[in-house]
Amino acid sequence: MSNESVIINPEIIEKKISSLNSFQKGLTDFFEEVSALTHFTIHFFKEVFLPPYEWKEFLKQSFLIGYKSMPLVGITGFIMGLVLTIQARPTMSTFGAESWIPAMVAVSIVREIGPVITALIFAGKVGSGIGAELASMKVTEQIDAMEVSGTNPFNYIVVTRIAAATIMLPLLVIIGDAIGLCGSYLGVNIQGDVSFHLFFLQVFGKLDFSDVMPAVIKTFFFGFAVGLIGCYKGYNANKGTEGVGKAANAAVVFASLLVFIIDMIAVQLTSLFN
């Protein structure tokens, strides 16, 4: 038996315990957040099918979320189609495959770029808007006032916004895709001469149901995710003006991340069924 004693530095132990505690706290916070979000989602599904249905508010939100986002989505889509076409030309012309540009751009826009870019813009505009609006309502105690006056604030504020976001985003994506293809038509004709009829035939010559349907279906999930996260972050904002900014910021970041996660799952599922 040796009589050697191990010298333990108490500072190191304290640091290790502190980092372990912060990790534990982070993990606990994460799971608490997931749990709260799950409860929030379940609450939404419970409320969405129960009357009273706030049709008027739903239409108002659809107008604000969908119609008002159209110019931004349209401009982005147009530039996206134009730039993609111009960028694709040098590579395609190396193979002598310029005639494939419309089909390639159409498949890219319809399958992936259109839905994802539109959803990200939607998350930036609508997600942050909902988050900030609901957070300021919470801060100024308007939500509490609604409860006192006998109105179901969750049904009136949250359900209408999430439903509007879920339904409006697919429409925005479809319109954005169409405008993107118009941009592509312009891009093709900057350095070439393709009639609209030929361009149209080349676009639809390569598009398939397996390109369009999964892309449209996943946009419903994107819209739902953006609406849900925006409402969740706003509805659960901390009191104070600082909470409004934090809620808006968190809504954009989290919704954008969720869009990519949903997209990854959607791609895997689509390739599984194909």
Partner: protein, 229 residues
Amino acid sequence: MQKENQNKIRLGIFVSIGLTLFIVAIYFIGQRQQMFSRTFHISGIFKDISGLQVGNNVRFSGINVGIIDGIQQITDSTVRVDMTIVERTRKFIKKNAKAIIGSDGLMGNKIVVITPGTSNKRALEDNDTIATTQPISMDDIMLNLKTTTDNTADITSDFAVITRNIRKGKGTIGKLFSDSVMANNVGEAMVNIKQGAGGFKQNMDAASHSFLLKGLFGKKKKKEESKMN
């Protein structure tokens, strides 16, 4: 109130545009896949489908007339390819028409190309089996290329042996190149042949003018002239 109504109308227009675009896209994609036109089904048995997939086009006289709607392995060496073809082209696809797997350009998708049969045959019926031709695969081309290359290698090695022998003066041609006496003899022989041929021509000219053979040569001349005309 008026503004609210205006907003509702705007929303209605927005939703209508979105839905119309979606329906138009679905219609055109469906039309391309012959979903809205009358079709008939045929199938072909292939040994190798070279990567053909469900949804690829079927082409007849350079026009897309249908799509592949099913691929099924029947035995270890045969694959059945089911095709949906538009009804309006049925009358042109005869019983002895043949299907071959081709490619849409150098880098394009695989397609089935139907070559028309003879017009005296009847048109294909619904659910008929079309005759097929096996496509030339890249492997076949490479195999043929290898055989050609091997043959070329044999020929060049033989040719090398021959030229080596000629250079060493072996064989008749080799001697001709290296032996000056033999070369002179060959030269003299050529002169003799030339002189002999000249003498033979003179004799034949004399014979053609003699009264005994004049008739024979005259007939021959007339025959040649009539042939020329």
